[in-house]
């Protein structure tokens, strides 16, 4: 149990977020109305995705510095869970946009660019799937992972700020502060980000451990056959 404290922390944070997110005070804003609470659930998906992709690119660099099978598992599984969170962020964003902007795909610049960066990461998995040689796959995909990360950061965090976007804090829009003039939303939003990051890391760790077990079994079988 002593190694599981961060999993419990993630669970407690998310339980709090789902209670507080629905019951605590939220600012009254026109057009958004009660959907302002979607911020607690939609935005943490993207924060979680970004952090998992960041961990993934760090592992990719570590792999290139010192290639081990283990580090390759870290890189790919972190990227997979990150991509899953990104898809959830996209779907929740489209649902929210449908009721506040008028249509699920609004051509909003941040929406478009985050779709592109998700596609860049999808190409990472396609690249991995198209290579048979394990070592080659690990090396090439680690290099590509760095490029994908280098594309994602400007696509999501820089370019939308240079154009007109309907996302708060981008383009002509005022910053995130518009949602929390009295800081009340931060009380739920930051725990939500932390919670989803921890749960994302937990799921990634399960997948990594599963891959390591699989690897070990294959090794044992090899030994038996030789």
């Amino acid at each position: 149990m002593r190694n599981n404290w961060w999993k419990i922390l993630g669970i407690v944070l998310l339980l709090y977020v789902h209670i507080g997110g629905l019951l605590l005070h939220a600012p009254r804003m026109p057009i958004l109305n009660e959907t302002i609470r979607a911020l607690y659930f939609h935005v943490p998906m993207w924060f979680g995705m970004t952090l998992l992709f960041t961990c993934s690119v760090v592992c990719a660099i570590l792999y290139l510095a010192k290639p081990t099978q283990r580090m390759d598992f870290f890189t790919v599984e972190l990227a997979k869970v990150g991509a899953a969170l990104g898809v959830l962020g996209m779907l929740t964003g489209m649902l929210w946009a449908n009721y506040t902007w008028g249509s699920p795909w609004h051509g909003d610049v941040k929406q478009k660019y985050s779709a592109i960066s998700l596609l860049v990461y999808m190409a990472y998995f396609v690249l991995r799937g198209s290579l048979d040689n394990g070592e080659q796959r690990a090396r090439l995909s680690a290099v590509y992972n760095i490029f994908a990360f280098a594309a994602m950061i400007p696509l999501i965090f820089i370019l939308p700020r240079l154009e007109d976007s309907m996302h708060p804090g981008n383009g002509g829009n005022p910053g995130f502060n518009v949602y929390d003039l009295d800081s009340s939303m931060r009380l739920v939003f930051y725990p939500a980000v932390m919670g989803w990051i921890l749960i994302g890391l937990w799921i990634a760790s399960l997948r990594i451990r599963y891959r390591l077990i699989e690897e070990k079994i294959l090794e044992l079988e090899d030994e038996k056959n030789n």
């Binding site: 998310l14 019951l23 399960l206 390591l212």
Partner: protein, 75 residues
């Protein structure tokens, strides 16, 4: 010149008068749902789903741990 200044002041005044009205426009929220207490039902349902999912994750974690122990993995 004087006219322009007066016009400008008039526009400015009307903005200043309009601002509080804008700020105080009633924004519709799900107040009825809160008043009825039905919101607690929604919260309870979401919590059930979350707790179920987390329990599932924990059981999965334990299964993986058992396999690791079986294989003599230190991690």
């Amino acid at each position: 010149m004087k006219k322009i200044t007066r016009n400008f002041l008039a526009v400015l005044m009307s903005f200043m008068l309009a601002l509080p009205a804008l700020a105080q426009a009633p924004v519709e929220m799900a107040d009825g749902m809160r008043a009825e207490g039905k919101i607690y039902v929604v919260v309870a349902i979401i919590l059930m789903v979350l707790i179920g999912l987390f329990t599932y994750l924990f059981l999965l974690d334990r299964k993986v741990k058992k396999l690791e122990d079986k294989l003599g993995n230190n991690r």
